[in-house]
């Protein structure tokens, strides 16, 4: 019994149980053409991705090669749609792997284009943010490839590729609205937040996509299907057979949504314009509440949201550690008028850090109350000895090496708490070397104020000295704090000294050179080193774990290393600019060069230049005390070594796509250069799509007609007549559904005669037809030919009798 039952179950394995002894095999439904089906299925993902990315770009008015993007999106969407239509999972996996390979190759090949395109987008966002938040000094990124039209398209394609892959998974396996919205809408928050509206076309596309997801999710018919299983069994107890997807419904829903979408836009815009809508809102609370944070974020990146200290460049006053990256605004902080005299960098000193404390360089004279008068005097003498004496000596020397310069420094955006002055300036009071905390109230350069300094150029000073060793300054007078390495840093610094290969017998110059070279070779320079974690020491973290940083990192570490090696050293902040920056500046023709520089010059005669010193030129460096020399600037920060290159093939490709019409001046239209604002491109796209569909349909119909003609006119007369009759039946069936009810040749002939008034001897025709169709009895050639001509006449009569609409339907066969 059990055996029999099992046997029966095996017989009907895979069948659906309807009632006792009644089983249903796989139900069938015409799903249509596989390519057309995949195309329809892919449209949802395509519309969503195009709506999201295209909407974003259109909101910021970023122009790109629309044609390229649309074609690539469609192709990728269709590709993944095909993968989901494959009967076996393994094929899908292979398809994914294959695509991943292509994706990686494309990323590798087009990375420069993608980067440039990305920068174009970022710049557009930042420009808008600058206006919207009234920000000053938003940095603009420089794209390496200037063809924005192509680069934006490429970055849109890459982002679209990723979106399509992820959306495909969520849509064809779950039709998840949550993930669909999450993957497509957040991008639009950026323009929406900044009061920019994406183009209606993209919004319609997005709306259609969302509504399609809602509809198919609500009804549960979205699972990808293999072509032989349009149905699945659901609910064992209820014996429910449920269809999976139907291309006809897909097509009709998409058409319905498209029409409704356009109607909706026209309707709403007719009654309620965007301006009228905006005027209904009297205030923008969101903007008011978030402007500061978002503005800070735009200027500083994520660091702007949590950084403790400013990081836009400029002075930090010795504060370290809280900054993850530096985002200069590239606006002028100082305007320096002077006459260049050397090709070496000019350092403008502002802050001197003497004691390294808790992630901060504190001034040695920070708190005047805590410093005794004796100590102050000692230090003042010490500073005088190091600078003033040399200055005086040089000023008094009337020989070849005598030189004196003037520098006017105007504060246009720098921190007003500091003085900014060149080295070897002659001051009446050298307590000026003290830090800002002590003197800010009295001696800082206020906003838009100008300070005038007279200085004795270093180059002259060095050349004057030549090989002579300067007179020794007793280092015992140096404040011991300049030799102090804090306990917490000692082990790390000792270790670093060993790594660098420093030894006690080395001279100051050798030590300095070794440290500089070591940093250059082993620790990269970056403006984005990341913030120092809490409870970590800035210098220790830099030397042991992070191993990358900007000037403050290198200067701080080098200061302690020099101290460890017995060289008095201190951390200095200020501005530094090179001769290149000077040459890029404007010449001040209103000022006499002779008023600004007299004496020996390393570069010959030069005019007065107005150098715009931006916050990007803010810098930190080290001063070491050299016996007989005083405080000397030591530069240990390595240069940045970013490089770019361009691929010739893609240059050619760029040129091809951008179409050289730009350069020929004839005003020709560029390839795919469709003006979105005028919706011309939409017309082209619609035209192309319609043309493709028409060609496809006409081709399909044409192929069918050729096949039918060949069948009806084949050499075998009997087969030809059978095919002709089948064709006539098909014609009648198209024109009249009731023909399906006719079950025999006689009934069919009666139907045709009655409906189309065609006079034939139906019994004879029926007999001949049945004989040639079912009987082995031969029918004479004459009879077949007669039958053939009758059928020919019948066809003509049907064609004449049917209405125009039916004729169109017949043409579509």
């Amino acid at each position: 019994m059990l055996f029999r039952k099992k046997k029966k179950e095996e017989v009907h394995k895979g069948d659906i149980f309807l009632a006792k002894g009644i089983y249903l095999e796989k139900p069938m439904m015409n799903n249509g053409n596989i390519i057309f089906n995949c195309f329809l299925r892919s449209l949802i993902v395509f519309l969503l991705v195009l709506g999201s990315i295209g909407g974003f770009l259109s909101a910021f008015d970023i122009s790109y090669n629309y044609l390229l993007v649309i074609v690539v999106y469609l192709m990728i969407s269709m590709y993944f749609s095909f993968l989901y239509a494959l009967p076996r999972f393994v094929y899908r996996d292979i398809g994914y792997i294959l695509f991943f390979g292509i994706f990686v190759l494309a990323i590798y090949t087009l990375k420069l284009y993608a980067n440039s395109g990305f920068y174009v987008c970022v710049n557009a966002v930042l420009n808008r943010a600058q206006t919207f938040f009234n920000l000053s000094g938003v940095r603009e990124y420089e794209s390496q490839i200037s063809n924005d039209y192509l680069t934006v398209a490429i970055v849109a394609i890459f982002i679209g590729m990723v979106s399509i892959i992820i959306l495909n998974i969520w849509i064809y396996s779950m039709m998840s609205l949550f993930w669909t919205v999450l993957l497509t809408f957040p991008l639009l928050f950026i323009p929406l937040y900044m009061k920019l509206t994406p183009d209606s076309f993209y919004m319609i596309a997005l709306g259609i996509g969302y509504m399609a997801v809602v509809i198919f999710k609500a009804n549960g018919h979205y699972l990808a299907f293999a072509w032989d299983t349009p149905f699945k069994i659901k609910g064992f107890k209820e014996r429910r057979v449920v269809y999976t997807q139907d291309s006809g419904i897909f097509r009709q829903i998409l058409i319905t949504l498209t029409l409704l979408g356009f109607c909706m836009v026209i309707l709403v815009e007719s009654f309620f314009s965007p301006n009228a809508f905006e005027h209904r809102f009297k205030s923008d609370r969101l903007r008011d509440a978030t402007a500061d944070s978002i503005g800070n974020f735009i200027l500083l990146g994520f660091a702007g949201l949590y950084n403790q200290y400013a990081s836009t460049g400029g002075m930090s006053g010795g504060k370290l550690g809280g900054v993850s990256n530096v985002r200069p605004d590239y606006l002028p902080d100082l305007i320096v008028s002077y006459t260049p005299y050397s090709n070496e960098a000019v350092y403008l000193k502002a802050y001197t850090g003497g004691i390294y404390g808790d992630n901060e360089w504190e001034s040695l004279y920070g708190d005047p109350d805590a410093v005794s008068q004796n100590e102050m005097d000692d230090n003042t003498i010490f500073e005088e000895e190091s600078m003033k004496e040399q200055s005086i000596a040089l000023s008094e020397a009337k020989n070849t090496y005598s030189a004196r310069g003037r520098m006017d420094i105007k504060n246009v955006g720098a921190n007003t708490a500091y003085l900014y002055y060149p080295y070897y300036t002659l001051f009446d009071d050298y307590s000026i070397y003290n830090n800002h905390n002590l003197l800010s109230s009295t001696q800082g350069i206020g906003a838009q104020q100008e300070a005038v300094y007279y200085y004795y150029p270093k180059i002259v000073w060095e050349d004057y000295l030549g090989e002579d060793i300067p007179e020794k300054i007793d280092s015992s007078q140096v404040n011991p704090d300049f030799l102090d390495v804090p306990e917490k840093n000692r082990a790390v610094i000792e270790q670093e000294c060993r790594q660098i290969g420093l030894a006690s017998f080395m001279t100051e110059n050798e030590i300095v050179e070794a440290v500089r070279q070591y940093f250059q070779d082993n620790i990269p320079y970056t403006l984005k080193p990341g913030a120092t974690p809490r409870n970590e020491d800035f210098i220790n973290y830099f030397l042991t774990r992070n191993r990358k940083g900007y000037c403050a990192h290198f200067a701080s570490a080098a200061t302690l290393i020099f101290r460890q090696m017995g060289i008095p050293a201190r951390y200095v902040e200020g501005y530094a600019f090179s001769l290149e920056a000077v040459l890029d500046s404007e010449m001040n023709e209103g000022k006499e060069a002779s008023d600004y520089y007299r004496g020996y010059s390393g570069i010959g005669e030069a005019p007065v230049m107005d150098v715009e010193v931006t916050d990007a030129m803010a810098h930190a460096w080290v001063e070491i005390y050299v016996n007989g020399f005083g405080w000397k600037v030591v530069e240990v920060t390595p240069g940045s070594n970013e490089t770019t290159d361009e691929d010739d093939f893609w240059s050619a490709f760029t040129a091809f796509l951008s179409n050289n019409a730009e350069g020929n001046g004839d005003g020709g239209i560029r390839w795919g250069d469709l003006n979105l604002s005028q919706y011309k491109w939409l017309i082209y796209v619609i035209f192309i799509v319609i043309a493709c569909i028409l060609i496809f349909m006409i081709g399909k119909i044409g192929i069918r007609k050729v096949v039918r003609y060949k069948r009806c006119n084949q050499k075998n007369l009997t087969e030809a007549v059978i095919a002709s009759y089948a064709d006539i039946c098909d014609m009648v069936r198209v024109c009249d559904d009731d023909f399906n009810l006719c079950r025999s040749h006689m009934e069919q002939l009666e139907f045709i005669i009655s409906r189309y008034s065609f006079a034939i001897e139906k019994e004879t025709v029926c007999q001949w037809l049945e004989q040639i169709s079912f009987s082995t009895k031969n029918v004479s050639n004459e009879e077949i030919k007669t039958l053939r001509s009758l059928l020919h006449g019948m066809r003509k009569a049907i064609w004449k009798a049917v209405s125009l609409r039916k004729k169109l339907a017949l043409c579509k066969r």
Partner: protein, 354 residues
Amino acid sequence: MRRLCNMVRYAFIIVLNVFIMLVFHSYVNLILLVGLILFPFYSIYGIHKVKESFTLRIVAPDENMERGSRFYLHFFVKNSTWFPVVNATLKLKVGNQFYQEEGIHYLNLPIRAKKETEVVYPVIMDYSGCFRISSESICLVDLLGIYEVTIPINVEAECLVFPGGKERNQEAGKIYMQGVAEAMESREKGYDFSEVSGIREYIPGDKLQNIHWKLSVKKDELMVKERVSVSAMQLNVLVELANDKDMCLESVLELTDSITKAFVMQNLPFTIYYYSTNMGELKGCYIGNEIERIQWLEMLLYDRCYEDAGLAEEMFFKQNLAARSYLYIGHALEDAAAGNIISGEKRAAAVLRG
């Protein structure tokens, strides 16, 4: 539950959209909001339009099928409106009328706008009988899955499935001859194979053996039995349509089909009897050719089986038809002598009795 989920989801989308619109002052979301509010009306209106105009046809094969063979049912759903329906569920009753087996089945299908959607069901019946499929109702769900309309719709189709008996020409011919020979022998011995059709008063010339003596005594006048002559060269066949849990009747039907087919092929006329549940009486049918046999078989399969074993034979006896030998086709038989029996599957057998 599903509708509730859809409603909640849709409401959430509207709320989210309103939120984004108010927070970002987004005109795009205003358009979306208007769309979201109007779309349910469109969707529900569409369902009502479809409800008014859609038609359903179920087409089953005209010809009779054999059990175990596949036949195709066609469902044609025509929607002459411009509104597509993504979710339509057809409630169907499927069953075998002969065995009184029935099941409920649901077919979920799309209804394309301005089109006729066709779904084909390949069906296999393990048992013979009358396959019947009828639609009770169709449930149309709107595009958003938040509103549904159930329409009663009564469309049905049926198809007869024959037992498809094996070839048993030789055995059947032999048993037929044996049955007829026994009848002849009995006649020679004086048995009368005529059947009593009624009682009437004596008419001079009536045979004495037809006088009903007992009744004549009671009525005090001569009464005679009116007889209808039955040919001794014809075999009676009795089919027992009692079924049990093991579906033994299917074997009986298969045996009946093959034996009757063999009789017809060998031009051996017979009268076949079965108990008709529909009519509540024993039904006899003279079969002389294949057309008559097919008609009888169709009539049989439109009828219903019963549970009482031996019901047909009991009625057969009551009608005094068992006086001469007859071929009994049924199951659970122990009285068969060798040569008088044709065995079928399970416990089915055809036995010559009487």
